[in-house]
Amino acid sequence: MSRIQSCFDQLRAAGRRGLIPFITAGDPSPELTLPLMHALVGGGADIIELGVPFSDPMADGPTIQRASERALAAGMSLRKVLATVAAFRQTDTATPVVLMGYANPIEAMGVEVFVTAASEAGVDGVLVVDYPPQECVAFAELAKRAGIDPIFLLAPTSIEARIDDVAKAGSGYIYYVSLKGVTGSAKLDLDEVARRIPMIRERVGMPVGVGFGIRDAQTAKSVGAVADAVVIGSRIIEEIENAGPDAAVARVTTFMRSIREALDSLGESRS
């Protein structure tokens, strides 16, 4: 069983919602990524989404764009991201790590080389933002065979046939983008989320994480009432940005705890 699947099994058994933080690897510096990953776990993360920086992050808002620029300026690369995951696995063998990024750095490395290296490093899932299912059949199969879950996005605008395509190609969980826009926007429509998630979960037969636009404990709690997990990215990067390198680890831990508490206060209210 994959680390991601057993993570969601345990969450379900305990009646808890998953908390999936996102940080960009290498932001603000490659050296700080490993301590930040441990801090995320210490603050209550169930799964870590680790952003692979790209020069042209088309689906990201200004916050994650800035994080990518800082990471690249600090010399981060896909190879170094994999090395960081391997280092994380030295002490944490339980927390699933999902790489999230864009297709080009992976294709530049070579798809097969990447899948092998990611598997060896201890990566559990890969979400390639600009790889919709129809463009990455071979990649998704390759990843699955190496024990890596290919994770796909669904959007408020996705039609049912599309949801079925994503269900067929993906494994691990579905990342539901809770708004029309880029990461970090502030236009989350809670009613829409509450309406769509049960249908999507039913149709895909996988846990559903919801992200894009979750900025505080209250929203996390509302989303957590209907989703299997909440994903928080831009807001955490703002914490790192505002704290500066010295205080980043402490600030991220504190912020994560506030979200964790909000999610845990939901109890087992969702059937």
């Binding site: 790209f54 689906a59 750095p105 463009e135 796909f152 029309k180």
Partner: protein
């Protein structure tokens, strides 16, 4: 060449040109692209839509654009005869408007009251702002702040036409970053917004759609050349940044296998200098801006900053159909450096009384190189894709002159 037997039919239903093209975008854009594809396919079958498109090209743009025999320049070069397809005479001064008319009509057909565009040199932004004013659409143009600095006159033109010009400060602050930002706008405002992409790149159906709207250039040439000289040219030459003017003139010539198709990329300060924008000559395949194509990238797959004296060629990718035409050998791609383009710019001004765009000057420069190697009976057809008024500032600066 295998194409002689089988008719050229690209792209396939999923937008692939061999291994290139496709739909490499986040899920949030997929439904918008699906409905665009459907609307475009329907309009292509709609005689009323096509009639309106052609009416606008004739009465608003001023088509057909003439072909001009550059006799003095040809004689000075001492070889092949150079003919110019005068896209610089179009309303707004470049080929870009052909595509903007098509897409703006499509936006209206789809009930979208707002159009957005990215622009590098400003030509596509001006063309979009122009048609938006013509059809009463709200218009927002994204432009890198570095390009805004280089193309101040075009920025003012867009504003005069009622468009909002949004400076883009991310990345290299040029065309590619403007494209990223326009995509972000589109994904956020899909319900009321149509994204008018200016070149034959981006996710399917854009490369096909922009090519189809620009193919009027080559279609006219197919008729005009036999009328003027009794036959088709020996070679068709066009500059390639994203590649829309080149696809527009190449596409109708693809089945004419005895006509050479030559795309000219910006070699900037020279391919070896690393400061250039020659994706097909010096790049390798990858994924950017919704399609797979040749890209200028570092070994880690990050897109690198490009350089060209002409903002319109300053782009690290290229339309996927050019990538395919290169691989299958139907078209050849060469590079022309900044200095060579400038020389051709000055020559055309002095010997023919035509001020060409710096983009088009790259195609002219290659024609000037090729002509002397060929006999006087050979014919080169160059797509003069735009006029050079917008480049006065850049050229003057290079000559050490300040206004």
């Amino acid at each position: 060449m295998q194409m002689a037997d089988t008719p050229y039919q690209m792209p396939d239903a999923q937008g692939h040109f061999g291994p290139y093209g496709g739909v490499f975008v986040a899920e949030t854009l997929i439904p918008a692209l699906d409905s665009l594809r459907e609307a475009y396919a329907a309009c292509l079958q709609d005689p009323a839509f096509l009639a309106e498109y052609h009416y606008e090209l004739k009465h608003f743009v001023g088509r057909p654009s003439p072909i001009y025999h550059a006799q003095r320049w040809s004689k000075l070069l001492g070889g092949a005869q150079i003919y110019l397809k005068r896209e610089d005479l179009n309303h707004t001064g470049a080929h870009k408007v052909n595509n903007c008319i098509g897409q703006a009509l499509l936006a209206r057909h789809m009930g979208k009251p707002r159009v957005i565009a990215e622009t590098g040199a400003g030509q596509h932004g001006v063309a979009t702002a122009t048609v938006a004013a013509r059809y009463g659409l709200e218009c927002v143009v994204y432009m890198g702040s570095e390009d805004i600095r280089r193309q101040a006159a075009n920025v003012y033109r867009m504003k005069l036409l009622g468009a909002t010009v949004v400076p883009v400060e991310s990345g290299s602050r040029t065309l590619k970053d403007a494209l990223n930002e326009a995509m972000r706008d589109w994904v956020t405002n899909i319900h009321n917004t149509f994204y008018i992409i200016g070149t034959v790149a981006g996710p399917h159906p854009y490369p096909q759609m922009v090519r189809d709207f620009q193919a009027v250039i080559g279609e006219e040439c197919l008729t005009q050349m036999p009328e003027m000289v009794g036959r088709q040219p020996d070679a068709v030459i066009a500059c390639v940044g994203g590649g829309s003017n080149a696809m527009g003139i190449f596409y109708p010539y693809i089945p004419h296998s005895d006509v050479r198709l030559i795309g000219v990329e910006a070699a900037g300060e020279g391919i070896d200098s690393g400061h250039h924008a020659a994706s097909l000559t010096a790049g390798r395949p990858g994924v950017l801006h919704g399609n797979r194509t040749y890209l200028l990238q570092n070994e880690d797959g990050q897109i690198i900053e490009t350089h060209s004296i002409s903002a319109g060629l300053d782009y690290p990718g290229v339309g996927p159909e050019h990538a395919w035409l290169k691989d299958c050998g139907r078209a050849e791609y060469v590079g022309i450096a900044d200095g060579e383009a400038l020389q051709a710019f000055h020559d055309l001004c002095r010997f023919e009384g035509i001020i060409p765009a710096l983009e088009s000057s790259h195609a002219l420069a290659y024609a000037a190189k090729l002509a002397p190697t060929l006999g006087k009976d050979k014919i080169l057809l160059v797509n003069l894709s735009g006029r050079g008024d917008k480049d006065m500032h850049t050229v003057a600066e290079k000559s050490g002159i300040q206004f």
